[in-house]
């Protein structure tokens, strides 16, 4: 039975340059028949080219347009996403939280970097940074200010610290300027940050 790895130092046997570490591990594991290099390419392809915030944006745009869908999404996102074949690794159990006139939601993982991968892809560097992990629960307003987000004095912030296997997606408020827009045009307003809570929906950039 493997022992618990408390203060293990095996990693220090590898060269300090992480590029060389990757090369060494890949060589050793493929020589031993423990990994298939093509599988590595396939994993990278999924996260680089297939999964990303456009998936979450589709969900948000649909929720803005279809009240019945929105109601189900907020009540039981896991079933809704399961039916749409949108669950998956790091998003097996998803809860969607709605921004309202009174409350702004913000998502963080203070202990590591939990994030709804199947809906937003791999988290950006700042989400995984010590600064965000340290400050989001204690100083959400100053954190938001660094994203250019100012909230009215009387709006409450609700921070979601993803401490277990539940992943959170923010359903931002639909901007009044999007009245009349549908589908594609509406999706363009939904930014990744607006689904984490560090931004608002905004008009798509030209080009």
């Amino acid at each position: 039975m493997p022992h618990d790895h408390n203060d293990d130092h095996s990693h220090s046997l590898l060269p300090p340059d992480p590029q060389l570490q990757v090369k060494a591990l890949e060589t050793i594991l493929s020589e031993k028949g423990l990994i298939d290099r093509e599988a590595l390419d396939a994993i990278i392809d999924v996260y680089q080219n297939q999964i990303g915030p456009q998936i979450g944006a589709d969900i948000v745009a649909r929720a803005w347009q279809e009240p019945a869908f929105k109601k189900r999404l907020l009540a039981d996102a896991e079933s809704v996403l399961g039916e749409m074949a949108l669950s998956g690794r790091q998003g097996e159990h998803v809860v969607v939280v709605e921004n309202t006139e009174d409350t702004h939601n913000l998502v963080v993982c203070t202990l590591c970097s939990c994030y709804p991968w199947p809906l937003l892809g791999i988290p950006p560097s700042w989400y995984k940074s010590d600064a965000y992990r340290r400050r989001a629960v204690h100083s959400p307003r100053s954190v938001l200010a660094e994203f250019g987000v100012e909230l009215p004095e009387d709006k409450k912030i609700r921070v979601w610290d993803s401490t277990a296997e539940i992943r959170y997606l923010v359903l931002p408020e639909r901007p009044a300027e999007t009245a009349g827009l549908t589908d594609e045009a509406l999706r363009g307003w939904v930014t990744r940050d607006s689904m984490i809570g560090t931004g608002f929906p905004k008009p798509p950039e030209a080009g």
């Binding site: 990693h11 680089q48 203070t110 307003r141 921070v159 930014t191």
Partner: protein
């Protein structure tokens, strides 16, 4: 203070550098390889996601604080590979497999199965016979870290900043695998998982707004009832 460097919620920190959606998914080529290696090695089934997190948390504090994100992943992976005797220290030193070593009976994850494996993920919900101890609206007090894990190095998902604090149950997420047990290969030990809401004023002596809220998902054994 918590004795583990990863448990940093609520501490002062530096400036945040937003990317506004512009950053590449993998900023460096090796980032993607590090992630893919971790997932592909994990698919061998010798350890679970909780053990992977624990391996990163158990890095010496100097390394944890010094390493970039994917360097932590690589270090955690390397230690798991050695602990589980899939790779030897000599092989790490040499940067290649020892041709004399006995074969390991394992089937590598094939490329064709990658989409299905990622789609399936690793759901953690489990059915248990017991009834939940708490219902929505109950006031609870979180335990101290030493109550939860008398051994200092035990893995837990209760952050220090939310320990010994009063909160209210806002959701019951059914029962889920308990990371505190699973990370140490002591079984899934599923427990009810609750959404618990805390007031900023109850968590921190100097909150921005005492009425702001912080919600965490906490396991039943992290909580004790509060009589009102």
């Amino acid at each position: 203070m918590s004795n583990k460097p990863h448990d940093m919620g609520g501490l002062p920190g530096g400036a945040i550098v937003p990317d506004f959606g512009k950053e590449a998914v993998f900023k460096e080529g090796w980032h993607g390889r590090a992630l893919a290696l971790t997932l592909a090695a994990g698919a061998l089934g010798r350890w679970n996601l909780d053990a992977s997190r624990n391996a990163r948390e158990c890095l010496p504090a100097d390394d944890y604080n010094r390493f970039s994100y994917y360097e932590k992943w690589l270090a955690g992976l390397t230690n798991l590979l050695v602990d589980h005797q899939l790779v030897s220290p000599d092989e790490l030193r040499a940067g290649q497999a020892n041709k004399e070593a006995a074969d390991i009976a394992a089937t590598p994850l094939p490329a064709a199965k990658v989409p299905a494996v990622l789609k399936k993920g690793g759901p953690t919900r489990r059915a248990i016979a017991a009834e939940p101890c708490f219902i929505v609206g109950d006031v609870v007090m979180t335990k101290s870290l030493s109550q939860i894990s008398p051994q200092q190095n035990n893995h837990t998902r209760l952050p220090y900043y939310a320990s010994v604090k009063k909160g209210v149950i806002i959701a019951c997420h059914d029962a889920h695998i308990l990371p505190d047990s699973h990370a140490h290969f002591k079984g899934e030990a599923p427990e009810y998982l609750y959404g618990v809401r805390f007031l900023a004023g109850d968590l921190f002596p100097d909150p921005e707004r005492p009425g702001d809220e912080i919600c965490l998902d906490l396991f039943e054994s992290y909580l004790q009832p509060v009589k009102i």
